[in-house]
């Protein structure tokens, strides 16, 4: 017999036999999987970074489809992936407010009053168990848990306090979770000017107590609350706070920041504009 013919025939028969088996098995053992999971997974960045708190992107995709997670739950994909996921699931437009991390303590290691020698695990959560080495019980401990928590390299320690690179910050909130003193929060930014205004102090004590522990803490003088034209600044006890519902409508917030005697009202500097778009 012609070897070519035999080859073709035998391979063909083999292929046929296996195709049949596969077909049968496929029918017998088929598992129904929601095709939307694959689609949602496509819309996610697949970085498997874990910033959302789920095990993996696939895990998150399954949960989104099940309804256990919001379409905008991926902090990295941001508005774009949220929009696509919402589209896939037929939910329509989803509003995602973009935020950046701000640090409510701006004191350098020299400006904070040091009261103890700390020996132990070099992490903020660990140091916080002992109160750390500085007198202020509300300020930055300075061991950089937030730096390690950030997967985007957006935070670095400068002069003993964290500095957020707003260009890199995705607003995922990992740093805020990592900070044992809750000094870091996520706040919206001014879409016009691309910057976030915030109070760089978290100490609610009265002026003498603040002055004892820090050179630059908020002393609760109410100056910001008095000079703001639309009440965008208010006092929470002895600590100035920003009302983000109003502050970007305010016409004079940079003037308010200028007037603060302790200069604790800071701006993040310009956030990359295309993120807002």
């Amino acid at each position: 017999m012609n070897p070519i013919l035999v080859s073709v025939l035998s391979m063909g028969l083999l292929a046929l036999a296996f195709a049949t088996i596969l077909a049968v098995v496929n029918r017998r053992l088929s598992v129904r999987e929601d095709p939307r999971v694959e689609a949602v997974l496509e819309a996610l960045p697949s970085a498997n970074c874990g910033a959302c708190g789920f095990a993996s992107c696939r895990d998150m995709a399954e949960r989104i489809v099940k309804g256990d997670a919001e379409p905008g739950a991926c902090p990295v994909g941001g508005a774009e992936s949220a929009r696509r996921i919402a589209e896939i699931l037929g939910l329509g437009e989803v509003e995602v407010v973009e935020k950046v991390a701000v640090v409510h303590c701006a004191a350098t290691s020299e400006q904070k009053v040091k009261v103890a020698e700390y020996r132990g695990v070099t992490s903020c959560s660990a140091a916080n168990l002992l109160g750390g080495e500085y007198a202020c019980r509300y300020g930055c401990l300075g061991y950089g848990d937030c730096v390690r928590a950030c997967r985007f390299g957006a935070i670095s320690m400068v002069d003993g306090r964290p500095r957020v690179d707003v260009e890199r910050c995705t607003g995922c909130g990992k740093c805020a979770q990592a900070c044992p003193r809750e000094i870091i929060t996520l706040e919206p930014y001014d879409r016009e000017r691309g910057e976030t205004i915030f109070v760089a102090c978290n100490n609610p004590d009265r002026a003498p107590a603040v002055r004892r522990v820090c050179e630059v803490g908020c002393i609760g003088c109410r100056m910001c609350a008095r000079t703001s034209d639309n009440g965008a600044f208010y006092m929470d006890g002895n600590l100035a706070k920003v009302d983000y519902g109003k502050v970007y409508e305010s016409g004079n917030w940079d003037e308010v920041a200028e007037k603060c005697p302790r200069k604790v009202i800071h701006s993040t500097g310009r956030v990359r504009m295309e993120r807002a778009a």
Partner: protein, 425 residues
């Protein structure tokens, strides 16, 4: 001699064991924190400017797990404000100014068998008695166990180096210890009373035996740290193991510190609230010793009473060196859980080496845990794995860190890990 597995033998340094308890005349200003115990802080029951009598209640315990606080001196309430606290860092405290010499509290009389258990519990609770061994758990709560109790154990081990307050208490107040034990037995309905004492205190055992007329068992135990940990003590005395996550009452036992027993006696017999306690002051001070100190006395005042500091003190610890808490300043007051104040010169080196997996920590852990895993997971921030490694069973006795040749602050990692495990739930 009876004991438990694991444990360590730190140098005991009990230089103050021959120094009789000495009463400290009260300072002019005491700071009485409203939270000196495990559980909910109590609420102030006085106002600023109010005059108070010695023994008057300053704070009322509203929650079940709580204990009231009383003023150790007569005087005027100066302020009610946050104040440095030796355990909590900062807590609401009542400041009383006054002073004058303190007299002995008038002694009452009581027959333990004639009192109803409820009456005992009520008096103990009103007196604000908490465990004086260090953990400061409200005693009245321990006296109302929801399970049946067959044995009450008095803990006279005092296995922490330096501390001798319990030793002196047993020696000088043996009868009050025994009476306290009988009151506790009456309150929980237990038949059996035992006192476990480390074998290095034969004089204390002798005194207790004499005072007890053989009714309670005074048992010598192997000299080994942490013999005085509740679970280790129960294991050594009764060969019962408290189940993981459980309490002594799960094996039918209530454990009380000997100092607590004396406080119970005073509360029930004399109606005296817990306004003073025995504190061992040791280390680099002029006159180390055992002092009967009013609660709320600042450490700095006590330091002066004890003869002032010597050269080169770099660390002040409240409690023993194995489990005590390092203090940031001497402005903190003596609280109910202050068993000792140590002024230490030598401090363990700051440098942490690599774990060489020598397993000394594993071999010495009295809870038979794997501290290697705790450090590994905590360093790798795998908080999820810590709980399944049984981190919550750790009693933080410090044996592992004590023996670690790499000088790893294991207990620090464990405390951090526990914090994270709790916050993940």
């Amino acid at each position: 001699m009876r004991s438990f597995r694991g444990g360590v033998h730190p140098p005991y340094n009990k230089a103050t064991q021959d120094r009789p308890i000495e009463r400290v005349s009260p300072p002019e200003r005491v700071v009485v924190p409203l939270s000196q115990h495990t559980g909910a802080p109590c609420e102030p029951s006085v106002e600023k400017g109010q005059e108070v009598e010695r023994g008057q209640k300053l704070g009322e315990a509203k929650a079940f797990i709580s204990a009231p606080v009383h003023t150790p001196i007569s005087g005027v309430v100066k302020e009610i404000a946050p104040h440095p606290h030796p355990v909590l860092g900062e807590a609401l405290a009542v400041v009383v100014e006054g002073g004058g010499e303190m007299e002995d509290w008038p002694r009452g009389d009581v027959d333990p068998d004639s009192l109803e258990p409820e009456e005992i519990r009520m008096r103990v609770r009103e007196a604000g008695v908490v465990g004086l061994g260090g953990a400061a758990f409200p005693t009245a709560v321990k006296l109302s166990p929801p399970k049946s109790i067959d044995t009450v154990i008095l803990n006279g081990c005092e296995c922490e180096p330096y501390l001798t307050a319990d030793h002196r208490t047993m020696l000088e107040r043996a009868e009050d210890c025994i009476l306290g034990l009988r009151l506790v037995m009456r309150a929980v309905g237990a038949e059996r009373g035992m006192i476990g004492v480390e074998a290095n205190k034969p004089d204390a055992m002798e005194a207790l035996r004499r005072a007890s007329d053989g009714e309670v068992e005074v048992v010598p135990l192997k000299v080994k740290y942490p013999q005085g940990a509740e679970k280790m003590l129960i294991k050594a005395l009764l060969d019962r193991e408290v189940p993981t996550g459980g309490l002594p009452m799960d094996v039918g036992v209530v454990v009380q510190n000997v100092g607590t027993a004396v406080a119970v006696t005073e509360a029930v017999r004399d109606g005296k609230p817990l306004i003073e306690r025995v504190v061992t002051v040791a280390g680099e001070v002029g006159r180390p010793g055992n002092y009967l100190v009013p609660i709320g006395t600042p450490f700095s005042y006590l330091m002066e009473v004890a003869g002032g500091l010597k050269e080169g003190v770099s660390q002040v610890v409240m409690g023993g060196p194995m489990m005590g808490i390092a203090q940031r300043s001497l402005d903190v007051p003596v609280v109910k859980g202050t068993s000792g104040i140590l002024f230490l010169r030598e401090v363990p080196p700051a440098e942490e080496g690599n774990c060489i997996r020598c397993a000394r920590c594993v071999d010495h852990c009295p809870m038979e845990l794997m501290p290697t895993l705790f450090v590994k997971f905590a360093k790798g921030e795998r908080w999820d794995l810590l709980e399944s490694a049984h981190i919550m069973d750790c009693i933080e006795c410090g044996s592992c860190a004590y023996v670690c040749p790499a000088r790893i602050p294991i207990v620090h990692y464990i405390k951090l890990g526990k914090l994270k495990v709790r916050s993940l739930k």
